[in-house]
């Protein structure tokens, strides 16, 4: 089932990428990123059947980082929302060069 698991991982990752490219809602964008992280986790777990439990340790780390990222990211979104009354990324272009 290894090959299938890796293929599934790639498909889910791609769906996450397509989501990032198409959606403008910041929260949904975030969730797409979570989906991509999950896809990577799946390949870690799948490969850990070959190479031992180290891959699973990495999954634990990924989850931790994802949690931290979600906390900070959502806090930023809240701050932005307070400022612009919107979570649409098209309205947020302070970085324009």
């Amino acid at each position: 089932m290894l090959v299938e698991a890796l293929a599934l991982s790639a498909v889910l990752f791609t769906i996450g990428v397509v989501g990032v490219l198409t959606r403008r809602n910041a929260i949904i964008l975030f969730m797409c990123i979570e989906l991509m992280l999950n896809a990577v986790n799946l390949s870690f777990v799948a490969l850990s059947t070959l190479y031992g439990a180290t891959g699973q340790v990495f999954v634990v780390f990924t989850m931790t980082v994802a949690a931290a990222e979600a906390a900070v990211g959502l806090a930023i979104i809240i701050a932005i929302f307070r400022h612009t009354r919107s979570v649409n990324l098209q309205n947020i272009n302070l970085l324009k060069g």
Partner: protein
């Protein structure tokens, strides 16, 4: 023998089932207009992945997936959506239009094709050791020394102890950051 064959057939069926459900849910997730609906579809993807983790002998990770991802992170997402009162479908959420979708899907397919081609060309076939089945059978026959969690916990608290401790610092920083960013400015003049 028969039981064994049946077992592996059932295993394959389960794997494909959960995999396809995950893909379908993911597609549904990126296409929903309502953020709440999207979040619920994502939760479904995660459940499916948890099931796959179990089938891949990563029971501990499966439990973590349910507890941390679905139970904590996604709840935070939903909480924020409701806090900001974004629950209704937003037209702005899909401002790209049809061509945006088509082009993005095309790009995604190109990327997927490339990844698949890479995998086919190099790695997976060669990565699988010839005695994988024998090894897996041997592993299944011998009871694990530390149970299910032992193999994960041992490297986590030995080799990766420093990284583990650093993640605690990271979490602390994230908490402080979230609080600072999220609280209202009371001293605003």
């Amino acid at each position: 023998m028969l039981a064994n064959q049946f077992h592996s057939l059932f295993y394959a069926f389960g794997f494909y089932l959960f995999g396809l459900v995950a893909i379908a849910s993911a597609v549904a997730f990126v296409t929903r207009k309502s953020p709440v609906a999207a979040a619920m579809w994502l939760v479904n993807v995660m459940f499916c992945l948890a099931a796959l983790y179990v089938m891949l002998d990563a029971q501990f990770i499966a439990a973590m997936q349910v507890l941390v991802y679905t139970g904590a992170i996604m709840v935070v997402f939903l909480f924020v959506i409701m806090l900001l009162n974004l629950g209704h479908p937003s037209e702005l959420a899909d401002a790209r239009g049809r061509w945006g979708y088509i082009f993005a899907t095309f790009i995604g397919l190109v990327m997927l094709a490339e990844v698949m081609a890479l995998n086919r060309a190099n790695t997976i076939e060669r990565m699988i050791p010839p005695d994988l089945a024998a090894r897996a059978a041997a592993a299944a026959a011998t009871p694990l020394a530390g149970g299910i969690i032992g193999p994960v916990a041992a490297p986590l608290f030995n080799e990766y102890l420093l990284a583990f401790e650093l993640t605690s610092v990271l979490l602390l920083a994230a908490i402080v950051g979230a609080v600072v960013l999220g609280k209202r400015r009371t001293d605003a003049r």
